[in-house]
Symmetry: C2
Subunit: 453 residues, 2 copies
Amino acid sequence: MSRRTLKLGAVLLGVGGPGQHRTWLDPEIPADASVDIDWYVARAQEAEAAKFDLVFIVDSQFITPDSPHHYLSRLEPLTLLSALALQTRNIGLVGTATTSYNSPFNLARRFASLDHISRGRAGWNVVTSGDAGTAGNYSRDEHYDYATRYGRALEHVRVAQGLWDSYEPDALPRDKEAGVFLDPTKLHALDHRGEYFSVVGPLNLERSPQAHPVIFQAGDSEEGRDLGAEIADAIFTHAATLEQAQAFRTELRDRAAAKGRDPENVLVMPGIFPIIGETDEEARAKQDAILGSKSFERALKELGRPFGWHDFTVYDLDAPFPDVRDAGERSFRTQANAISKLARDENLSLRQVVERFSQSWSSPFVGSPETVADAIQAWYDAGAFDGINISVNVPSEFALFTDRVLPILRERGVVRREYESSTLRGNLGLPEPENRYAAARAAAPQDEPVLVS
Amino acid sequence: MSRRTLKLGAVLLGVGGPGQHRTWLDPEIPADASVDIDWYVARAQEAEAAKFDLVFIVDSQFITPDSPHHYLSRLEPLTLLSALALQTRNIGLVGTATTSYNSPFNLARRFASLDHISRGRAGWNVVTSGDAGTAGNYSRDEHYDYATRYGRALEHVRVAQGLWDSYEPDALPRDKEAGVFLDPTKLHALDHRGEYFSVVGPLNLERSPQAHPVIFQAGDSEEGRDLGAEIADAIFTHAATLEQAQAFRTELRDRAAAKGRDPENVLVMPGIFPIIGETDEEARAKQDAILGSKSFERALKELGRPFGWHDFTVYDLDAPFPDVRDAGERSFRTQANAISKLARDENLSLRQVVERFSQSWSSPFVGSPETVADAIQAWYDAGAFDGINISVNVPSEFALFTDRVLPILRERGVVRREYESSTLRGNLGLPEPENRYAAARAAAPQDEPVLVS
């Protein structure tokens, strides 16, 4: 089998990269973009015109006045994506939803509805909620611990997949002449009783065009990687260097294979931050301007997020980095631990940590259109990723990517010229999941001739 | 104040009325209409062209093979309504969502998102889930008892309203020049700790165009009426006779007044089933054909629903109606009790009960366009309702109403000629809720001059 073309995801108002906190100040972005449906429609249509595989909506259910600004007020992802569904035709619609504070019946139903409405373009980015404060919005005194979060996530997704199988493909003859709506032998209760959820079923919605909406997952912890290898069709991640990206993808594929999965069906798609200029020099100057725009004070506040929005302003900036690992235990633990470890290993002060993590960032994809295209192709050829996610927020920057970089990659056969399919699963080159009951029926000895439907 | 025009709701695939179970067999309705977004878009646009106030989507999260057919497989209401939002401009979008199996933070956010996306046309039909089997889909062995269902509903709605007030109207200056996104003194945590829910807040979504999406409520029990009088902007109900409808509306208005509310802001909107012919005779023949189409076997099965899908086929049809009141205790209790009481009072057999409740129904709105228009106006003038809900399922029948009945009512000034507002609240003539924190601020003595924003 020939390798897939490079998959392209467009992140709307995504977190990450330098300057993220300044998005709302950009003269090209309406300050209220995060609640303006027309803005989302325009960005999704631009990404579709450039033959992107998907738009991706991040999410969180907890805010503080220190949240990056757009996140203080934004639309709920599935409501938003459903509105986009009838304004687009081919692009995938991937929404973030947490397994920690939703019930599997409700989420399975909402994603299956989106899949019907979009005629097969729904995707679910499965998260467990890193912000510990989320618990307070859901009648809990404390956020679930790490093991519980990931245990719930796995069971939640398995229940959703079971509900999506409730109806066999031919369960609803809807034969008006014969007066037969349902074949009740092909509608199945799930009867799930697990550690975290009990769900009888069946789902009150038939098999959707993709059978199962595409599952995305992010999360870099041991538990996160294990969950991704188990359930994900595609993994969102980050990629600081080519070697790290290669190592991550190799590890994920190995984990998936160890679980009996075909690693070709687990796509690794890091977020990258191309900075494009007419020349390499112009692009580097652009990067310097972006980095310089972030204040130390803002960076100090944002450092608190992986540590459950811990307040770092109370410490001496030039004393050794404080030991606040406990604060991160129920938040973004992997990131918090990595920061703490580096600070210990290199004996860094708080000031040095802030500078290291927030100010001295450099994109591996900076330069002229040719330079950026070359770098993307080199990483792709080296097996660093199956696809990339890039921000679609600033129209002029996105246009530099679609109008200057993509044509080079298209000429080289790295990205598609036209959509191959009307479904997200089809465009990503992923197989359609088999219905578990239909599969069992096909495997069982037949007493009667099978009717052709 | 002059009285409002008669409000018009269009029910898509709504339950009720004779022949409901046969909807999918209608030659004008695609058999898969319940999952076909194009069908919903077309119906909503027809209702909007006729200047209806709203489309209304019913819901349930529990199915059995005996469910009325379309309900075996249908789209989730909010996902569906969000897709309709960008295909319509003026019509209200009212979705059913249960307070028994949703968290207030999630529902508040989803309805506020729909309100932003639709530019002010969202409505929430608050239900508590009558089908006791729903519990099994939400990790519960048993459905909540009646008192708990209604206690949760009231607290749930109050929490949602509190979350909708999180941002004062001018909390987000988003002043790019001054670099000020948020005025943190105008963003408020709710800090709710109640009997059923604890929710810290704030909501991560600013005040929506209607401030609070419009609240609808149905439910005919004592608890249901009390809840409606307390929280509802509009009440969905049924209306068998003019006198019953008058009495219900008077009672609801009195209850609302007793709670300190202006009864003018509680609209009573029963579902009615006009059957229209060129002549009264033709219409009556149409009604007879609809009634005759329902089999006794089907009616016997459907009688089970208010009693938690109790199986009535096991009883002797000609023995006295069995005492199965317990079966209805956690389902549609009011309806189950009414049926049981009538059977006892009149000493009816099971067969007679089936015939009474399913076969001998008669619409008060049967006749020529003039006859139906006269009846609607007579009820409206007599204070039987503030608005009506009718089914929009069968295009030719709906066209008879919009093209033949509405022009008569329009000529008489009973219904509108044009939308008065771009919001549902505006078209229903309901006041905009005041933000609780802004109100407190306005009421408090001011230390500083108030800035005009």
